[in-house]
């Protein structure tokens, strides 16, 4: 009886690992194929012989060198940084203030705003990019990367506010009553009591803000036309593709390097990332 039970458990595990392996291969194949291509010589990419899944005729860094020397990749990178830093900063400030107010101040209409914030979180970028295109134009920000600093927070703040409300709500009310008795103002209380407790939430929210801002594609594609203002996503997709012959090696090198910052952030802060992702389903 025990033996069959153990055998059955071993069989179950074998099947499970097999299924997991299949999924992992499916998930990691695209980045693997991008990486392999980016290190191949052009002759090998164009060759129809041998096994394409491995590098057979020596790896080269040429595509990466060309990316920096012959294209505007570094400029796009700088633009992405210049957009993402203020977007993350402003989004976090707005979210923290709003989450504090909504979780504590208990004013009339807090519930309505809370529900509203959640509904706005569900609004996708492809619903509003056309009116925003007109609004950005009226503000004179068309064809400027700063237009993104204005619009990206709308995609970030609702989720971050909602996430932080969850963290702030878990802080016992007695704590702020004591602080108020001691004469602390709301701002002091927020900085000295709430923020330290909510550090995991703040990290998760920051990662979210960074990822959304870094990965955004539709808004820059719609609002920005000239190469000098392009961010990494649109710059890589539109400007690195030149002529009728696709330079697959260079294109893959660019796409991979541009993807690296959010992936690295994820690798180092995986647990915060996942707690942010699952906040919706587990915390309600």
């Amino acid at each position: 009886m025990i033996r069959t039970k153990r055998a059955r458990r071993a069989l179950t595990l074998l099947v499970c690992y097999g299924v997991i392996a299949g999924f992992v291969v499916f998930f990691l194949f695209p980045p693997y194929w991008m990486a392999i291509t980016s290190f191949k010589t052009n002759q090998e990419i164009e060759s129809l012989e041998g096994i394409p899944l491995i590098i057979q005729h020596g790896a080269t860094l040429r595509h990466y060198r060309d990316l920096f020397a012959k294209t505007d990749f570094l400029l796009y990178f700088m633009n992405s940084v210049l957009v993402t830093v203020p977007v993350v900063f402003f989004s976090m400030v707005i979210s923290v203030l709003a989450a504090y107010a909504l979780s504590r101040l208990g004013f009339a209409g807090a519930g309505v705003i809370g529900t509203g914030v959640f509904l706005v979180y569900l609004v996708p970028d492809s619903l509003l990019f056309i009116p925003l295109f007109k609004i950005i134009g009226a503000l004179g920000l068309l064809n400027s990367k700063w237009s993104l600093v204005l619009v990206y927070p709308t995609l970030i703040v609702p989720f971050c506010t909602w996430l932080l409300i969850g963290y702030f709500a878990s802080i016992p009310k007695e704590l702020d009553e004591a602080a108020l008795v001691d004469g602390a103002g709301h701002l002091q209380m927020l900085v000295l009591i709430f923020l330290p407790v909510a550090v995991p939430g703040l990290i998760a929210a920051t990662i979210f803000a960074f990822t959304v801002s870094w990965s955004g594609f539709l808004y820059p594609l719609a609002f920005i036309f000239s190469s000098g203002e392009q961010v990494l996503t649109t710059g890589t997709v539109t400007s690195l593709i030149k002529g009728d012959v696709y330079h697959w090696g260079g294109l893959m090198a660019g796409a991979l390097l541009a993807s690296l910052p959010p992936v690295l952030l994820y690798v180092f802060l995986m647990d915060y990332y996942i707690s942010g992702l699952t906040a919706g389903s587990t915390k309600g």
């Binding site: 999924f23 991008m34 996708p124 619903l127 509003l128 594609l221 990494l232 649109t234 696709y246 893959m252």
Partner: protein
């Protein structure tokens, strides 16, 4: 302290939404008010109905497969010893973390018919190569496959969180009662996860219907407009061809579906927390 939030949402979400309704009722040069003529015009166009069909087929199939595959993966990860779960969960999330426009670029290369990997692999296992992005049928398969690749990790992670929230005693007592794995799945796991499964699928319906990056990078709506969805078609009309009102009208067709999904998500969340 809510003021910045209210200003942001009011100025850059609520106002654009109503402005969009107004825009959709103007003529192409935005000089005259023409009521619902843009919507009427769209309804007479075959291309528009093609867009509607693709959007629904894409969303339906993609959400279904993401839910099935995400659930399967969550279940098998939940079954293996806890120590290894972290690494499998971590590796599985990579597609979700990469910027979608850039990974779509990688897929674009994968689908290249002569020099790339996918057709080479198909030939290797004895299947004839496919004209991935140049044939309307295979192009649809291709864009859906990328969406499933991108979205399955999200389903896996929410379902896994749900699985972990089911008290272990439930399974132990049912095991003592002699319930088989399949019986436990049907009578304990699925009922316990009902609301998480539903909320995740509704949420994904919204995000999937709003797909832009994948289609724009892989096919630009082609071949012969067969892969256009609401977002990419609105972009084509409103930004690329300069008919802003008509583009706004196309986007607004998404709204009823978004609103209905949002309503049920909100209701589901209220129910599961009360």
């Amino acid at each position: 302290m809510c003021l910045p939030l209210v200003a942001l949402i009011g100025g850059l979400v609520a106002y654009p939404f109503f402005y969009s309704i107004y825009l959709s009722m103007l003529n192409k040069r935005e000089t005259a008010f023409i009521g619902l003529d843009n919507f009427r015009f769209l309804m007479t166009r075959d291309v528009f109905w093609q867009v509607v069909q693709t959007s629904f087929v894409f969303t339906g199939l993609a959400v279904f497969w993401k839910a099935v595959l995400g659930f399967t993966l969550a279940l098998v990860i939940h079954t293996v010893p806890t120590g290894g779960q972290r690494i499998w969960r971590g590796l599985s999330l990579i597609p979700w973390v990469m910027p979608l426009a850039l990974s779509s670029l990688g897929w674009w290369w994968i689908y290249e018919p002569t020099h790339s990997a996918l057709n080479w692999l198909l030939v290797l296992i004895g299947i004839s190569p496919k004209p991935w992005l140049s044939d309307p049928y295979w192009a649809k398969v291709a864009v859906i496959l990328v969406n499933v690749w991108y979205g399955t990790p999200f389903f896996m992670i929410t379902y896994l969180a749900g699985l972990k929230s089911i008290p272990a005693e439930l399974f132990e007592s049912s095991a003592i009662d002699g319930a088989s794995g399949l019986q436990r799945l049907r009578h304990i796991t699925l009922p316990m996860l009902k609301s998480i499964i539903a909320i995740t699928m509704l949420f994904s319906t919204i995000v999937t219907l709003a797909t832009f990056d994948i289609v724009r990078v892989l096919t630009r709506g082609g071949p012969r407009q067969s892969t256009h969805m609401f977002g990419t078609y609105a972009f084509e009309l409103g930004i690329a061809s300069g008919d802003v009102p008509l583009g706004a009208a196309v986007s607004l067709f998404m709204f009823p579906i978004l609103a209905v999904s949002a309503f049920f998500i909100l209701r589901g969340i209220r129910r599961s927390t009360v």
